[in-house]
């Protein structure tokens, strides 16, 4: 057999291997002067391409199966959040209110004592009376207990807010986002935190915009950076590095965060995107950050990959589809000073109505309705609210139906509607929200958010 025959035989074997989906084999390539060198090089490159495609397909399959699992968890989480929202709202508001009142009582007692001159008989008797009932200690302990309760409830609210991010059909309007601006803002947020542990370096390549929400993407990148910061030990910033970089190719934009930290075992690496999985102490995080980041990126048509080995650091790579045309930037509404307004609040949860009335009643005239039917009757009877705050999901006549009826009978009032939501929507409400962006307040709602929303609505009218 001649040398050429032997090489032809190898080429034949390579073709058989490729036809059988075996892409590992490579052919020897000579100095490039013979046609067979070109054939061998071509087959090698083809094998490399096919192997890469097979790998990409495997990764896509893996991501699909992870996404399906996450979606199932997400639906469950959103459902739980919805159920917990209303009780959490009024428990938090009531507890905070009781705490405030208790502080007022303490202040009043101090003033009562001050009514009598020091050393006077009256002062002594008042002191004795209060001491006998151990009032000061009771007030102090109760205040402390309530402060702890409010802190605990704030944590519940934070977890619920995180769970909302899982809602697969959350109303969100996607726009063109400048990736470099996202990275720069995320770096700015963590710069100080990082400075105690590592050098934070940026390696920004040329990328086009991606489709998504600027703030959400900052949340994703900042979250990855914070995880990277936690992965490196404190005290030796010159010895550790956290690199954030961007690049693009084949219609995709990649953002990576690489650290020189402890790295992960294969067991940890396999679970990092699972909700509630965390290696941090329990008071340092909910274990939802990475799973939410993965969900946000998935919603924008992308994915997050991780490469990590113990002792060799980790690299998280966010891949998003690039968009060619810049979409309109998001409008930024602004709130202004507020005058007293008439606010109609519609919710089927009576405890919540009482809370909202107390929260808003200080600044505004509040009218309550326990359902859509009652609200429409009030309006038909002549009520003209400046703002209508309406729960979305209610039995019988829900928020969308109230809006539709007002749009027909009182179009100006329909424009004044804001919607409160526990985060779970039907396809119909989702369509509605898509048509009315920026009008949803996720429950539980804090006093400041409620007042801000009403102020914005009034400002928009004026």
């Amino acid at each position: 057999m001649t040398d050429a025959d032997a090489r032809l035989s190898q080429v034949y074997e390579m073709l058989v291997a490729l036809a059988s989906n075996h892409f590992e084999r490579r052919l020897e390539v000579g100095d490039g002067t013979e046609e067979l060198d070109a054939v061998a090089a071509g087959l090698n490159m083809l094998a490399e391409e096919l192997a890469a495609r097979e790998q990409r397909e495997r990764e896509v399959q893996l991501r699909i199966s992870q996404a399906e699992r996450l979606a199932a968890v997400g639906q469950l989480a959103a459902g739980v959040a919805h159920e917990v929202n209303n009780p959490a709202s009024f428990v938090l508001a009531n507890t905070a209110d009781v705490l405030e009142r208790l502080r007022e009582v303490s202040a009043v007692l101090a003033r009562v004592r001050a009514l009598f001159p020091p050393g006077s008989e009256e002062r002594r008797r008042v002191g004795e009376l209060l001491d006998r009932a151990d009032v000061d200690a009771a007030l102090s302990t109760s205040t402390e207990m309530l402060e702890e309760s409010v802190a605990g409830l704030d944590r519940v609210v934070a977890v619920i807010a995180d769970l909302h991010a899982f809602s697969r059909i959350e109303s969100e309007h996607l726009r063109s986002v400048d990736v470099e601006a996202v990275v720069n803002e995320a770096c700015k947020l963590v710069q100080k935190q990082a400075s105690y542990r590592a050098r934070l370096t940026r390696r920004l390549g040329v990328t086009g915009p991606v489709r998504g929400d600027h703030h959400r993407l900052v949340q994703v990148v900042a979250g990855l950076l914070v995880n990277a910061i936690h992965a490196v030990p404190e005290g030796a910033p010159e010895q550790n590095e956290i690199e954030v970089g961007t690049a693009s190719s084949r219609g995709e934009v990649r953002v990576w965060v690489r650290d020189t930290g402890a790295g992960m075992t294969p067991e940890v690496r396999a679970r990092v995107f699972e909700p509630f999985f965390t290696t941090k102490p329990t008071d340092s995080g909910t274990g939802l950050g990475l799973s939410i980041a993965a969900e946000i990126v998935r919603r924008y048509g992308g994915h997050i990959d991780v490469k990590s080995e113990p002792g060799e650091g980790s690299t998280f790579t966010v891949t998003l589809p690039a968009v060619d045309v810049a979409l309109a930037p998001a409008p930024v509404p602004s709130a202004t000073a507020v005058s007293r307004a008439r606010v109609l609040i519609i919710d089927d949860e009576k405890a919540l109505l009482k809370v909202f009335a107390r929260l808003l009643g200080v600044r505004h005239e509040v009218v309550l309705a326990t359902g859509g039917r009652e609200a429409l009757a009030l309006i038909e009877g002549g009520l003209v609210p400046d703002v209508v705050l309406c729960d979305l999901m209610m039995p019988e006549i829900d928020g969308v139906a109230v809006h539709d009826e007002l749009a027909r009978s009182h179009p100006a009032l329909a424009e004044r509607m804001l919607f409160m939501s526990g985060g779970t929507y039907t396809p119909r409400t989702q369509r509605f929200l898509d048509q009315h962006p920026g009008r949803v307040l996720p429950k539980p709602i804090k006093r400041a958010d409620l007042e801000e929303a009403v102020a914005r609505s009034l400002a928009a009218r004026s």
């Binding site: 054939v39 090089a41 086009g208 190719s249």
Partner: protein, 135 residues
């Protein structure tokens, strides 16, 4: 390679390639038996960016020394990083092997800039100069 010009002394030579700017052209010539991986591609593009000062040039890439090029390197050469240094690319090929590599690049990676295989540096220059000037 009968039309080979000598590499000028001011050229920058990386592990796999010599690069220099010659009037409107960015010239790159792969070293004999060069095997180009992603890290080499990154290095070559970084040198190119420095030489061109961020102004995309007409690029003449002489593949005739090239022995192999990884898929990742090809993808980088066809991406936006390459667009920063070149607005049109003439790939000079000679042997059957380099013709195959060039054809594979054009077929699989489809660069955005006008790109063409040429048999000599002269042909490359003529084609690049026949392109409409930059708007």
């Amino acid at each position: 390679m009968t039309d080979l010009r000598p590499v000028p002394p001011e050229a920058t030579t990386t592990r796999t390639c010599s690069l220099w700017v010659d009037g409107p052209f960015l010239r790159a010539r792969f070293l004999p038996a060069a095997r180009v991986e992603l890290a080499d591609a990154v290095e070559n593009l970084e040198v190119s960016a420095r030489l061109t000062g961020g102004e995309p040039h007409l690029a003449i890439i002489d593949l005739r020394g090239l022995h192999s090029q990884s898929a990742e390197a090809r993808a980088l050469f066809a991406g936006p990083e390459a667009s920063r240094v070149s607005r049109a690319v003439a790939l000079v090929v000679g042997s059957p092997l380099t013709r195959m590599i060039g054809n594979f690049f054009l077929g699989f990676n489809k660069p955005k800039e006008p790109t063409r295989l040429c048999a000599s540096e002269r042909e490359a220059e003529e084609w690049l100069q026949s392109l409409p000037p930059r708007p």
